[in-house]
């Protein structure tokens, strides 16, 4: 709800955070603050450093440099205090599939040392919140992917954390389940006094956040409310398919002074007032056009305006880089 760091206390405070893995710089000096009660999203392609950052905030990875505090505790020197105050939902499932939903939650309650008298009512509350109370005694192995993710969210909430970390909470789920997960998260935010920090590489999901940070290549390239970021783009996105893309890019630069580039297989550029621009384009371009698509700025465009690629292209590149890195590691004989 709050657009920025208002008068509410800071839930997460990150200063110059760096993480290097051997020669690879995964996170390069990240800085931001998250206010209490905020839903803060970390957006970026796979391999941008989101998971590494979240792992440092959750005390699972030790930073190479810089500092961070979560719920008022330093993630390096007060690890246990941080852990007591955060809930975690990982990208990969971490449930015991041989235990029932209740057994998984009870195990969590014991590991976190919750007072015995509140365990049962709290368990009921979190299970009802994610709509799994009726299935409480079923083994988790019989659950669908969406149910497991909901149970993980319920478990992450079991000990009433002050900050809930969600690393790609909807990855690998179908669109309908993704939407229902978001409904649960929205309800959660309404009912409990909690700060939510999440990562995602689905642009549309970032709309649920109060503020988002766009991360690319280990750095934050933009940070603001989604609407503000979109307004800053100021241009509509035009994508055109032609027979000769190179000639089109040259013609656009020549006749309109527009710098276009290839993205997702189409010549892509931004102009103010895209719909009015299309007739001029047809009249003056001089290259036959097969199809035109004009869209209002989305977070994709925000991403593109800051990084120069769409998130999908960036992901493909990151994939290639990762493969190259793997090859180097294998040949370089790391351990």
């Amino acid at each position: 709800m709050s657009g920025g760091n208002g008068d509410r206390p800071v839930a997460i405070d990150v200063r110059g955070l760096v993480k290097n893995y051997d020669e690879v710089q995964a996170v390069r000096g990240v800085e931001f603050e998250v206010a209490t009660g905020e839903v803060f999203g970390f957006l970026g392609p796979n391999g941008a450093g989101k998971t590494t950052t979240i792992s440092m905030l959750c005390t699972l990875v030790t930073p190479t440099a810089g500092s961070a505090s979560v719920a008022g505790h330093d993630v390096v020197t007060e690890r246990d205090d941080v852990r007591r105050n955060i809930g975690l939902v990982f990208q990969d499932p971490t449930l015991d599939n041989y235990l029932t939903a209740v057994q998984n939650l009870r195990l969590h309650a014991e590991l976190y040392g919750l007072q015995r008298d509140v365990v049962a009512p709290r368990m009921r509350q979190v299970l009802e919140m994610v709509g799994l109370w009726e299935r409480k005694d079923s083994p988790v192995g019989t659950f669908s992917g969406g149910m497991r993710r909901r149970l993980e969210i319920a478990r992450g909430m079991m000990h009433s954390p002050r900050v809930l970390f969600l690393d790609e909470p909807t990855i690998g789920l179908d669109p309908q389940t993704r939407r229902s997960i978001w409904t649960y998260i929205a309800e959660l935010k309404e009912r409990e006094d909690i700060t939510i920090f999440m990562t995602t590489h689905y642009m549309d999901e970032a709309e649920w956040c109060d503020r988002i940070a766009i991360m690319d290549n280990g750095e934050i390239v933009a940070l603001d409310a989604p609407d503000t970021l979109k307004a800053q783009v100021g241009t509509d996105r035009v994508m055109i398919h032609t027979d000769d893309d190179d000639a089109t890019i040259a013609a656009l630069a020549d006749r309109f002074g527009i710098e276009a580039r290839m993205a997702e297989g189409a010549v892509t550029f931004g102009v103010p007032g895209g719909e009015e621009f299309v007739p001029r384009l047809f009249a003056e371009l001089g290259v036959p056009i097969k199809a035109v698509n004009v869209s209002r700025p989305t977070l994709d465009d925000v991403f593109m305006s800051y990084t120069g690629t769409t998130i999908r292209d960036a992901e493909e590149d990151a994939g290639k880089n990762r493969n190259r890195m793997m090859m180097q590691m294998m040949h370089g004989g790391r351990r």
Binding site: R83, G113, Q125
Partner: protein, 297 residues
């Protein structure tokens, strides 16, 4: 999963106040609770896993009755008429515990592969508590099986006695704890289940064969004597043999051949020293496992 319509039940729960929960600060008490729940989880999983229960039961029976009865055809002359099943009973008591304990330790690798280990690693508890809980869990499961083995004693010609039952149980508990610690020590460093079983084949099977579970440990070839004396399992099998053989009446000549006892350069190692060796090794490996576990990831 209809999130759009609100049922009366949903409205009711929207009005109920949020249950307030607080995580207490770290204390000995919270660590004990963590140890207990890690231990209990192993038990719950064991009880739920019927196939594993069956397997752990059948395997020692195979050793005892199939191997014992089969080899009996060859060896009755040199055992002075003592049933071979009786002779290998102490060894089987040890190895059944050993296999079960190793299997329990393997669950750490399993947990890592299937992600659950992370849930335990991020909890605000010491990693040593998780390792200790695991070791107790493995030891308890192994002893459950051990108890069934104890019950079989009369079938192989060993009469029940309090001394026998209590003695075997304590020895098994000790061995199970040590082997679990050993398994956990290995499992912490291994990321894949196949690799773990590979290591087990490489280490556990030789340990079992060399330990003297299936043969007397005197008058062996020099190299085998050497291997036998450095095999930790030897020091669990030998007291078990002494205990079982003290409960049956057989000719002194037979006793001399079948239960010669372990010697170090001609010195007969007392059972108490052997037990101390196993315990010391167990604690050492537990220490290494804890240290390794705390330094990974």
């Amino acid at each position: 999963m209809s999130a759009t319509t609100t049922t009366p039940a949903e409205e009711a729960r929207a009005q109920t106040p949020v249950v307030q929960v607080a995580v207490p600060p770290h204390s000995i008490f919270s660590e004990l609770r963590a140890i207990r729940i890690v231990w209990r989880r192993d038990l719950i999983r064991f009880v739920n896993d019927r196939i594993r229960m069956m397997a752990t039961l059948v395997q020692p029976l195979l050793f005892l009755f199939v191997l014992g009865s089969g080899l009996q055809q060859l060896s009755s002359a040199s055992t002075y008429g003592v049933n071979l099943k009786t002779f290998i009973y102490p060894g089987i008591l040890c190895i059944s515990v050993m296999f079960t304990a190793m299997f329990s330790a393997a669950s750490i690798v399993w947990d890592r592969e299937f992600g659950f280990l992370r849930e335990m690693l991020v909890a605000p508890v010491r990693r040593s508590s998780i390792v200790i809980g695991k070791c107790f869990g493995g030891a308890t499961v192994a002893c459950t099986q051990g108890v069934i083995m104890i019950l079989l004693a009369p079938l192989v010609g060993v009469p029940y006695s309090v001394e026998l039952i209590v003695g075997i149980f304590l020895l098994q508990l000790l061995l199970a704890f040590t082997i679990t610690a050993f398994g956990v020590m290995i499992a912490v460093r291994i990321k894949q289940m196949q690799a773990f079983f590979g290591v087990m084949q490489m280490i556990v099977m030789p340990m079992f064969f060399i330990s003297g579970a299936l043969f007397p440990v005197a008058n062996l070839p020099g190299w085998l004597t050497f291997l036998n004396r450095i095999d930790p399992l030897t020091y669990a099998v030998d007291p078990m043999k002494k205990l079982v053989f003290s409960q049956i009446s057989i000719p002194p000549a037979a006793r001399h051949v079948l239960d010669p006892g372990v010697t170090w350069f001609g010195w007969h190692v007392p059972a108490l020293v052997e037990v101390a060796v196993v315990l010391a090794l167990g604690l050492l490996m537990l220490g290494i496992a804890i240290w390794e576990f705390a330094t990974t990831e």
